[in-house]
């Protein structure tokens, strides 16, 4: 992969989503945000995910659930193009995932453990990173800073803008990362177990935030371990354990036995398993 960076756009803010001139051999329909077709993948000869076909449309709120080691994170990496499928195809916004380079359209929030913990960096500087795909090698203009400001406002973290990220609680930190995704003006928000290590009250507020963002038109893809939160908030559930056990509306998922089959035990919806 040679493309390392989306071209620096001097006009900082975009007006409409410009279409890319990549010629796709198999162009999926325009509404699919993420589309996986017959995807197999394994780090070694043992497959981690197998025969996955999945399509996520714009504006959906999808949760991917499954036991530990079920391939949830791998599936996410395949969707985002961080891994390439051994067989089948993965596309995002109608482009093959591994070739997709308009990073500003995707907001990514990981378990906070993944980011450097000791680094001196303020909340504002973290949110600022959301503008990097837009400015490239250049500097942030007034407009970029205004967007950073709005993003902080939206998640209610303005008062913390100049705090060191290391001094924040888990919930506050995750809000900062959401703000970064907002600052990049992403239309797809991908969250990988975002509430690990976050206190209970903050978890509620966090999911409320996701709900309202989804309400504002952002597609939300949630990789989650906490089944309680998933059934309460997501519209659609994908239950995974190497292959897809269930894919459909949340209500049907709750009534089905997919969970028990996927987890192989009598799991319940209160979360707290593992």
């Amino acid at each position: 992969m040679s493309a390392n960076q989306s071209p620096p756009t001097t006009t900082a803010d975009d007006d409409t989503e410009t279409d890319h001139d990549h010629r796709d051999d198999a162009a999926p329909s325009t509404d699919a945000v993420v589309e996986l077709t017959d995807v197999d993948f394994g780090y070694t000869s043992t497959p981690v995910v197998e025969d996955i076909s999945l399509r996520i449309d714009a504006g959906e709120y999808v949760a991917v659930v499954g036991p530990n080691g079920s391939g949830k994170s791998t599936l996410m990496k395949l969707m985002l193009g961080l891994l390439r499928p051994d067989a089948g195809s993965a596309s995002i916004f109608g482009e093959p995932s591994h070739r997709f380079d308009d990073g500003s359209r995707i907001g990514y929030v990981a378990q906070h453990a993944s980011a450097s913990k000791e680094m001196p960096i303020t909340v504002r500087e973290v949110v600022k990173m959301g503008r990097f795909p837009h400015v490239g090698f250049g500097r942030l203009g007034n407009e970029d800073w205004a967007i950073v400001h709005d993003a902080l406002e939206t998640v209610g973290m303005s008062a913390f803008a100049d705090r060191r990220v290391t001094q924040l609680s888990g919930g506050q930190r995750q809000r900062a990362f959401i703000a970064r995704a907002l600052a990049s003006e992403a239309d797809l928000l991908v969250l990988d177990e975002p509430t690990v290590g976050v206190d209970v009250e903050s978890v509620e507020a966090f999911y409320d935030l996701l709900d309202s963002l989804n309400g504002a038109g952002i597609t939300v893809l949630l990789i989650e371990h906490d089944l309680g939160a998933v059934t309460e908030h997501a519209d659609r559930v994908v239950c995974l354990n190497r292959e897809i056990y269930f894919d459909g509306p949340t209500d049907e998922f709750v009534e089905s036995d997919a969970l028990a089959r996927a987890f192989g035990t009598a799991a319940n919806f209160l979360g707290g398993d593992a």
């Binding site: 500087e125 990097f132 939206t154 973290m157 060191r164």
Partner: protein, 352 residues
Amino acid sequence: MTALGLALLTSDPSTPLFTGDHGIPLLTGEGGILAPLYWFLDLWSGLMSWLAGATGLELLQYGFMHRAILVGLCIGVMAPLIGTFLVHRQLALIGDALAHTGFAGVAVGLFLNAVLDLGISPYLSAVVVAMIAALFIELISEATDAYNDVSMAIVLSTGFALGTTLISINAGGLAVGVNQFLFGNLSTVSAESAVILLVLFAVVVGVVGLTRNQLLYVTFDETAAAVSGLSVSWYNRIMVMLTAMVVVGAMQIMGVILVAAMLVVPVAGAAQVSRSFNESLLVSVVLAELAVILGIGASYYGEATAGGVIVLIAVAIYVAAVVIGKLQTAYGEESTPEMGSINVDESDSFGD
């Protein structure tokens, strides 16, 4: 060979070791394309002499001290600049590994000079060898998906073993003149070495200046950076190559063994007292410059090895920074502000 050994033995301030004026005329020689930098060096020397006259400081009178101070000041900027990105990725020891391969590069240069009479500066060969080693470490880590300390240790010891072997062959089995490279030396900074360092300095500062956003993103959150469309492996390669340049540049004064300290200690000190990333960059450069200037001064008057003194002062500054940092957190104002409410509807700037 013997001439070289002799030169190493009798190194004195007035005759820099590797002037590049014997053998083939060089790219980095005075008449080469880098002539403007020699002119700059003269200008700097004039400034320092004037300063010596104005202040009466004895150490500012000598040409070799002028160069040493210039080199020290450059190191004080570029070492913490690169170090900041390394330390926060838990890569503090890569500098050490590259310094040892740089030592092998010096030995290769000396060896080639002795055998083929090439007349290249050993620091130039050190840059080349260290950068190759840097790329090698990076490629290993990409293949194995982790910077593992085993591969780092292997590269480190290979470099050092190769260096000592070549130098001992070179000097007829005697460990002649190795001290200068192991521990650094103020008095042996030749005009050519200083010019090489100025070039390295320009490249390092230029590249970091251009790619600061990307390097910050990759350092802070590698996965998110990859998702946002950055090629993490390319920026990692750039990072280790720059590290190799810094390490070899700083080796002249700091020596192989202590050079990694300049990448790490000021940065660690700055992390204690800074709040933001930009602030920590600035503070680490200030702390490093402080250590370099005080260290060069103290080593001159105390007749000690500059590298060691500089590192000791840097560590003292680090300890002070830790204390100040603790006091800041203990007595800081830091009232917890109210967390704002979430208001998605108000801003409709995102999502379409």
